[in-house]
Symmetry: C2
Subunit: 565 residues, 2 copies
Amino acid sequence: MRISHMVGERTKETPAGASVKSQIFLMRAGYIKQVSNGIYTLLPPAQRVSKKIQAIIREEMDKIDGQEVLFPVVMPKELWEKSGRYYSIGEEMVRFKDRSNRDMLLGMTHEEAAVHACQNIIKSYDQLPLMIYQIQTKFRDEARPRAGLIRVKEFTMKDAYSFHTSNEDLEEYYSRAFDAYNRIFQRVGMKNFISVKSDNGMMGGNCAHEFMLLTDIGEDSIVICPHCDYKSNMEVAVSNYAKPKFEDSPIKEVFTGEAKSIEEVCAYLHLPAEQTMKAVCYAVVGDDKETVVAFVRGDKEVNEAKLKKVVGKEIAVKDLEGSGLVKGNIGIVGLGQEHMTIIVDKSLEGMQGLCCGANKEEYHLVGVNLARDAKIDKFYDIAKVKEGELCPICGQPLKVERGIEIGNIFQLGTKYTKSMGMTVTMPDGSQINPIMGCYGIGVGRCLASVAEELSDDKGLVWPMSIAPWQVYLCPLRNDDEKVSAVAEELYKSLSEKFEVLYDDRHVSAGVKLTDSELMGIPVRVVVSPRSLAQNQAEITLRASGEKIMVDLKDLESELSRLTKI
Amino acid sequence: MRISHMVGERTKETPAGASVKSQIFLMRAGYIKQVSNGIYTLLPPAQRVSKKIQAIIREEMDKIDGQEVLFPVVMPKELWEKSGRYYSIGEEMVRFKDRSNRDMLLGMTHEEAAVHACQNIIKSYDQLPLMIYQIQTKFRDEARPRAGLIRVKEFTMKDAYSFHTSNEDLEEYYSRAFDAYNRIFQRVGMKNFISVKSDNGMMGGNCAHEFMLLTDIGEDSIVICPHCDYKSNMEVAVSNYAKPKFEDSPIKEVFTGEAKSIEEVCAYLHLPAEQTMKAVCYAVVGDDKETVVAFVRGDKEVNEAKLKKVVGKEIAVKDLEGSGLVKGNIGIVGLGQEHMTIIVDKSLEGMQGLCCGANKEEYHLVGVNLARDAKIDKFYDIAKVKEGELCPICGQPLKVERGIEIGNIFQLGTKYTKSMGMTVTMPDGSQINPIMGCYGIGVGRCLASVAEELSDDKGLVWPMSIAPWQVYLCPLRNDDEKVSAVAEELYKSLSEKFEVLYDDRHVSAGVKLTDSELMGIPVRVVVSPRSLAQNQAEITLRASGEKIMVDLKDLESELSRLTKI
């Protein structure tokens, strides 16, 4: 490719609104162009990277017996009504009416389509296990797209679905898929990634893992034990922690005035946060009357994913205006009314001498003994794990890190085959609903994650396996006839063996060298009047900065060595 | 691939509603499964064919210096407002509001996105020419999906856009694209295809070609001169034809009773159809008041594409209820009112002694002399060419054939660069809007067209270049231990060199052989107790039916020969 005719411009300015490294460099190096909020065109360099990532994914999916299919992007409501997801998924799913006034939707994932594809085709136990996958465009109407290709509305995704006759068979396959995912992320060049147990969310089912690239710009919190193997997404992470025993005392109403937050109340009453109760109120989505009040120990935060599981319904932080609840003074003593569910975290179990809101303006209670003063049938785990709490496996202090979710795998169970009525006949003639697994990777996010992890202060740094081009051929002073002739000749001959991006522009050496670094092509070959005087080219490796002078006659063999994956 | 675990079932029954060969066989052989009207899942065999077609398209696009990109499926209204197409395209474009109430759409083609991608990146004449292309899912809400993958709502399309500084440069590139298209259709195995001049339709611009597979199931009519090179889509085809001169006579109203159609009136009055005028009324889309009345000679049909160009607006056949026009008795004499446009075909120019409606129930006029009795400023070419009319180039009789449009290329001009304000600087410092070309191929339609053309009465017949598998390995009597062992061994060894579909099922020889024919895999290798007694396998070529007995030791080299493209 001649860079003079390439669609993709290098710029010096940080694009407006771009805050993370991968986004800044992918935009500045001419890889992507924003069309709308969370919607991008992949320009030629990015599409080349994307295709290489897809090829790696295909190879690994085929290795675990995947059969590639293509499901439709647009599906009819009826298909998603059977699974119930037409109603349970919110605004992030695009719905529209077609010209015949039929309700249609843009598929966010394809469990329903996968069951539809196999239903009435896969009818017997001896056709299983099998796995089908696709690589396709998905549109999710994200509320907050961010960070370039990290969180977008439209993206290319590999999604895979497996079908099994037993949980053992699913688990065996799940572990093959798990290994394939590790190989994929290794092969695309990611380094600091881990897999963690995760919540199943809207997918249903039991066991799930997320693959996470650890990075400060990640949106997810991951709980990691540095001493043993425990790793978990915050959503499902558990921990042990000390429970201080406070002195029991009679319950007493105290004036706290304007003190509302735990911090303010603790300061006002000279109490540690551990001696207080924090109340957070939620509305149940789709039910205006219902309120959920969650209590955690004052030093802890509510884990909404855990709380949602306990409640069994979609929840959202509640606007207390007009609810009768006194913001900042909500307490458990005497609380309770129709359409209110109270959920108390296990951090509060057995506690006494506590402070909580008095359910009236300007007052809190102290000396609260939960066993004595509140009727709590059951305590639940609804709190977030905090850094320093103890590993549930080995008891050592936990760390909390941030990460980008780069892939996920789920044991789905029979949620979809059951609701859609897919059955297979077993050897004994009985009919069962096959057990499913599903396996997703976002191609664009994978691209951005590698960019995020490997970039340096000069720009992108692509690993050879997914680099858009292997070689950046860079004549300096190509107004010099000899330089120009040699460069053209090299472009022709090297292109037969390598993917070469040829900087044929008549611009300064500075611009060319800066652009080659910004674009992150692994191997740069410079020919200049000086190098040609020695019949040599100068090779620079983008990742290490290492420079090698090579005789022109050895250039091809040297590049063969350097481009090997 | 082991057929026992493949998602895709072979059936004997013709699926309900399937009428054309490709649709019937693609469904019966387990290649596709309908999800909704005009929406299909590609099962593994079809996806394999689709990927091979895409690979051929990519190779040919890269050969003509194409740069692959990926535009978004979902685009904001604003992008399509600039070109005006947000309003000019009808119900076939899906529009929806996103969660922030912004108007979005599903892209039918990507001219706007292509200009957006290049705008402010391509700024100088010396960056041109260039071509960008993508292979991507498109959704068009077709009113009448039909014939399986031939006309669908959702499909994978390769669309390409080129940018030029002059018409000469565009024409030169257009001709390279033209050649690439011919190579693509040859390489995917199509035989009876041609290219014809075509209408530009909603794309704008001047010159356009369609590539057509000639087949009786085609929806398009193509005018072909068997004597010279003239070939044209009916939409823009022209012809010469004899104009009989009828005797001039005074105009006279005659009773025709219930006779309404040309056929009925001609029978009633004993006139040839050439002596009558046919009126067809159209509404202007988006303007309730406007009526267009088109007149052609009684033996001819209105060509709506031509008429639309003359009118300059979208038209649709009008419901005459309440319009004041007398259905079956419309005539040109005295016709005319506010909001009515009358367009007369050149087949009627200079005619006399004609019969037309009298604009009242049960009556027609005879002896109509257009020069004398009607005020017609201009005659237009708005009629369809009929078989047997004369070639505009060589004067010989034309033929009309049916075809499927398998690809199209357009010289777009500056419609999009101008409306969207994309400019490049020329050597003299002036700014111009680059001139564009665009180039489309539907991958699924291409697949179905090959299936349509090559299938025989037993099923699909794939050419080697796009066959889902090259070899169908078919052990007969694999309850026989030796057969089963040899087959497993062959599957393992042959899979290293070839794409092998292995019929590992324990079903009858009849089922296996029939399935292999239905699926259309080019080379079938049968091993059976009888063949193994001779240490041989039996090869059958799907296309020709030719059978070859081969020693097992020579099987690999024989297959290498047979699978060569």
